[in-house]
């Protein structure tokens, strides 16, 4: 019998010592050379105090010297104005790129929370939602939402976007900017704004994936993305951000606070995605084997909780663009408050979900802690610019409770199968975020001279109004602000849920919106794409008793339309 011996890597011991000495000598020579080189250079401006002075102003503005005349002052003012807009463009584009990166986070999150046999399908949905919804938004969605939003002071006006249809100051739909051409919208300001807004729409677009995962047909999903990019998201988004009637509830006959206020889209983006996801999950029905005959729910553990955690952290990082970018400019220094509030709420939400699942179920639940973090982020998205840090923590704590109760309610009571918690996180916590503005806004933002989204008075909610001794029921007072928020939350739900339910109730008469039962059981990777995400692994056997009986019956439990199975 032979005993195995392992020779040390890299030849004999003596050679290794010799090589080690050579490497050490070369490193030493390199360090000495670097020190010698440093003595030959002159220090141009290592502290940065000399770079960016009068000479740079002259080079930028094209004048030869700063003249003490009206002409000279005008030139100075022009350059300063251009500089401010340039700073805001940089801010808007970079925060937009951060929001774009959230797509990566979401792909990780939802793929990790579903089963390995569907991982390719999940990733393909994340990829295709991006490209399809983007083109739909480019063609018509952007014009519907922002065709009449001008002027945007922070971006130099975005002056072509003046096409608005509505009643008085209350807009219903915009119509400049179709294909980024109509209404002379081929313009740097418009396109900078488009980049930031299209990635927001993408967020609403991919939220639905979490709730329809593992059973939706790819064709139906593409239809959902076209609808999201062209209609569902832009119309309600216009009412809130495009000069529409919800944002004008403070004017005219209603005089409700400053009109409905949604800073970065708890409602416009997240609740819209969440309620559309609710409609789709209800029409599709639960996954095969999700519910037993006695109505109790089975767990389908996600195949990679590491993906889910990575995804959550990437989303949190991206949110540093989502919320602070919504000032549309770095010249609005409120961005620091926005960023810190966002992180506070995220952490509070995660801690509550972690502690609550530990108390209730015996151990902290990893995926629910992820959901708790996202719940805090979603909820603080509308109020983040209008609140003090303590309120961000309070909003995050409540969001942590909202999300765990919502997940249990949907799973056990309502029997709506939401594999990744999309409805709970984005729908319920989005709604909470809209209301939170009317409760926690402390009257420090926006500044009267600058404004935000047409709001020229500071927004104040109920709790700070009570603490300050304000009259709650005054015209434009805190209660009327909360009233505007309630209207916004209700309208957002009715629109996103209603229009999505309508579209897919019609669509299921013409197409298979759900994959055939055998494809669902074998895995949507193979059935829908003929390719699997993990071809080198034997996937885990599933032993849910419900599957066989449903296969025998040849139908899916919801009675949703399914296509014929491939031969």
């Amino acid at each position: 019998m032979l005993a195995l011996t392992f020779p040390p890597p890299g030849g004999t011991g003596r050679e290794a010592v010799s090589r080690g000495k050579k490497l050490f000598a070369m490193t030493l020579i390199t360090l000495i050379a670097l020190i010698v080189v440093s003595q030959f250079t002159h220090h141009a401006d290592p502290t940065g105090t000399k770079t960016g002075a009068t000479a740079d102003y002259l080079a930028q503005s094209g004048v030869k010297k700063v003249e003490l005349s009206q002409v000279g002052i005008n030139a100075l003012a022009n350059t300063t104005g251009h500089l401010a807009i340039a700073i805001n463009f940089s801010w808007l584009l970079i925060t937009g790129f951060l929001v774009l990166f959230m797509q990566v986070g979401f792909a990780f999150l939802v793929t990790g929370l579903t089963r390995a046999k569907n991982a390719g399908h999940m990733m393909m949905m994340n990829l295709s939602s991006f490209v399809i919804a983007l083109l739909a938004y480019y063609a018509v969605g952007f014009a519907f939402q922002f065709g009449g939003v001008s002027p945007i002071a922070n971006l130099g006006g975005a002056s072509p976007l003046t096409g608005i249809f509505g009643h008085g100051t209350a807009g219903l739909i915009g119509f400049h900017g179709f294909f980024l051409q109509s209404g002379n919208s081929y313009d740097v300001g418009v396109l900078a704004f488009f980049l930031f807004q299209v990635v927001f729409m993408e967020t609403a677009g991919y939220i639905i994936i979490g709730a329809i995962a593992e059973r939706v047909s790819f064709a139906a999903f593409i239809l959902a993305e076209i609808a999201m990019g062209a209609i569902i998201y832009p119309i309600y988004g216009m009412w809130m951000w495009g000069g529409g009637w919800l944002s004008q509830l403070g004017n005219g006959a209603f005089k409700l606070g400053n009109g409905a206020v949604d800073f970065a889209g708890s409602g416009v983006v997240h609740a819209t995605g969440g309620w559309a996801a609710l409609a789709l999950a209800m029409i599709l029905g639960p996954r095969i084997g999700k519910y037993n005959k006695d109505g109790s729910a089975n767990a389908f553990p996600g195949h990679n909780l590491g993906y889910a955690v990575i995804g959550t952290l990437v989303l949190t990082f991206g949110w540093m663009g989502f919320n602070p970018g919504s000032t549309f400019g770095a010249t609005d220094l409120r961005i620091s408050v926005v960023a810190v509030n966002t992180l506070l709420a995220a952490s509070a939400g995660a801690v509550v979900a972690m502690a609550w699942t530990n108390a209730k179920w015996g151990k902290p639940d990893i995926s629910m802690t992820c959901n708790g973090m996202l719940a805090g982020l979603v909820a603080v998205t509308a109020p983040c610019a209008f609140i003090a840090p303590w309120a961000a923590v309070a909003i995050g704590i409540i969001a942590g409770f909202v999300v765990v109760y919502a997940v249990e309610f949907l799973d056990k009571k309502a029997k709506i199968d939401d594999p990744c918690g999309a409805i709970s996180v984005h729908g319920f916590c989005g709604l909470w975020g809209i209301l939170a503005v009317g409760i926690f806004a402390d009257g420090t933002y926006p500044a009267k001279s600058v404004g935000w989204n047409g709001v020229l008075q500071p927004v104040k909610g109920v709790i700070p109004a009570i603490l300050d001794g304000d009259k709650l029921f005054a015209t434009h007072g805190a209660m009327s602000q909360l009233g505007a928020q309630v209207i916004d939350a209700g309208v957002g739900f009715l629109w996103a849920f209603g229009i999505t339910y309508l579209i897919f109730t019609i669509a299921k008469r013409f197409m298979a919106i759900r994959v055939p039962a055998d494809v669902e059981i074998e895995g949507t990777d193979e059935g829908e794409f003929g390719q699997v995400c993990y071809p080198d692994f034997v996937l885990r056997a599933e032993t849910h008793s419900g599957i066989t009986t449903e296969l025998d019956a040849g139908r899916t439990p919801s009675g949703a339309t399914t296509g014929s199975s491939p031969a």
Partner: protein, 112 residues
């Protein structure tokens, strides 16, 4: 010749391998398996829904030995893989008709 098959707790693998190497066995085969014995599975909660972990992850090792070495190998595994708690696993020994080394075609004890 005999084959010793053992199903053990995965974290005990290194200790068992070291003990078997000390006995100068000629090789071993390893597979990652799942199963249950008298300890049965256990219940966990995922997002609020309970689920049964029916099969617990285990490592299965197989060692081909001369007849005289079988008990020695089995007791080495028993000594190193034991924690004294439920789920420590099982060992079983079976006769082997012959063994062939693929590279040379040697058969029987020479192929071990």
């Amino acid at each position: 010749m005999k084959i010793v098959i053992a199903v053990i707790k995965p974290f005990k693998l290194d200790e068992v391998t070291a003990a078997l190497r000390a006995l100068e066995i000629s090789g071993m085969t390893l597979s990652e398996v799942r199963g249950y014995g008298r300890q049965r599975g256990h219940t966990e909660v995922y997002r609020g829904a309970e689920y049964e972990v029916d099969f617990v992850p285990k490592v299965r090792i197989e060692v081909l030995v001369e007849d005289v070495d079988a008990d020695k190998v089995a007791s080495a595994i028993t000594d190193t893989a034991r924690t004294g708690k439920i789920g420590d696993g099982k060992i079983w020994i079976m006769p082997v008709e012959t063994v062939v080394r693929v590279r040379t075609g040697e058969a029987g004890s020479d192929a071990l």
